[in-house]
């Protein structure tokens, strides 16, 4: 058996599913952010796999795209954790069940 694109895609799909489960089901807002990071990682893994096996001359553009995703993820997690700190300071909780001010 030869390890090819398909195996990496399956690993990335499983990783994305786990990240989605964490993001949707965890009570702590920081744990939700961890799930989002796992999902971003699985997407990056998919892109790098396509970059490795794509038979075109622009294959490495995918890796540039991955770098932009990493930069955006870093910005997102910095602002997200700052928001969690503000919510904690004002409401003494980061549980997504209790932060329901905008719920109707």
């Amino acid at each position: 058996m030869v390890i090819g694109l398909e195996e990496y895609l399956v690993v990335a799909a499983i990783l994305f599913g786990i990240g989605l489960y964490i993001a949707l089901s965890k009570r702590n807002a920081i744990a939700v952010l961890m799930g989002v990071e796992l999902m971003l990682n699985s997407v990056n893994l998919t892109l790098v796999a396509f970059s490795r096996f794509s038979d075109t001359d622009v294959a490495l553009s995918t890796q540039v795209f991955v770098m932009f995703i990493v930069a955006t993820a870093a910005a997102e997690v910095a602002v997200g954790l700052a928001l969690a700190m503000v919510v904690y300071r004002n409401r003494h909780t980061v549980s997504v069940d209790d932060i329901d001010l905008l719920k109707w």
Binding site: V11, R52, S61, V77, L81
Partner: protein, 199 residues
């Protein structure tokens, strides 16, 4: 691509990545969950290495393991009364169903699609090509990413910094937790105003 070492690397790294991600789900302590998240990130970096993407692998280690995971640890440590347990909300069952559907759909698409011709050998000098394309054809997105990071930096500081005039808030929460007693002089005491006024 079919030698034993490569197989061993791929399967063990996949097992580490997915196993650590599962441990993030099941571990009851949030600190342990972050440690397993770091392990999962390292596994993904190893998978990048098996894909001959050395530069992205190093970027993954530096940014995800070195910055994002540490930031998360800090955030957990700085929210002491929010609880360390890694429990689930009532959305557990729908999330489980959606996870199964996504994994099934992704696996099916990945295995059943005809991806066309595959490149046999990896590209050499990847870091050099990536660096050159970053300052040639991708120079505008590169600058936009720089602006985004600056904006995120300023935004995170503006959100997370404590208002100096509102220092009583921190003092009040320390009092509530019993970490300091009311008459004990403390660094966290407010510069002005009465303690316990905020919240």
């Amino acid at each position: 691509m079919s030698d034993v070492g490569f197989h061993l690397a791929f399967w063990s790294l996949s097992a580490i990545t997915i196993g650590a991600a599962l441990m993030v789900v099941v571990s009851r302590n949030l600190i342990h969950a972050v440690v397993f998240l770091i392990l999962s990130f390292i596994g993904v970096a190893g998978l990048y290495l098996t894909l001959s993407a050395e530069f992205i692998a190093v970027v993954q280690i530096l940014i995800y393991v070195g910055a994002i995971a540490v930031l998360m640890l800090f955030a957990i440590m700085l929210t002491p009364r929010a609880g360390r347990d890694n429990s689930e909300t009532g959305m557990r069952l729908p999330a489980l169903v959606l996870m199964g559907l996504i994994i099934a759909a992704g696996t099916f698409i990945g295995l059943e699609t005809d991806w066309g011709s595959m490149r046999g050998e990896a590209i050499d000098n990847q870091a050099r090509i990536i660096g050159e394309s970053l300052i040639n054809e991708f120079v505008l997105p590169f600058e936009v990413a720089a602006v985004l990071l600056t904006a995120a930096l300023v935004g995170a500081i503006a959100l997370a910094r404590e208002d100096p005039e509102d220092g009583s808030l921190h003092y009040a929460s320390l009092l509530e937790e019993g970490l300091i007693s009311p008459d004990e002089p403390s660094d966290a005491a407010p510069l002005s105003g009465t303690p316990g006024g905020g919240d």
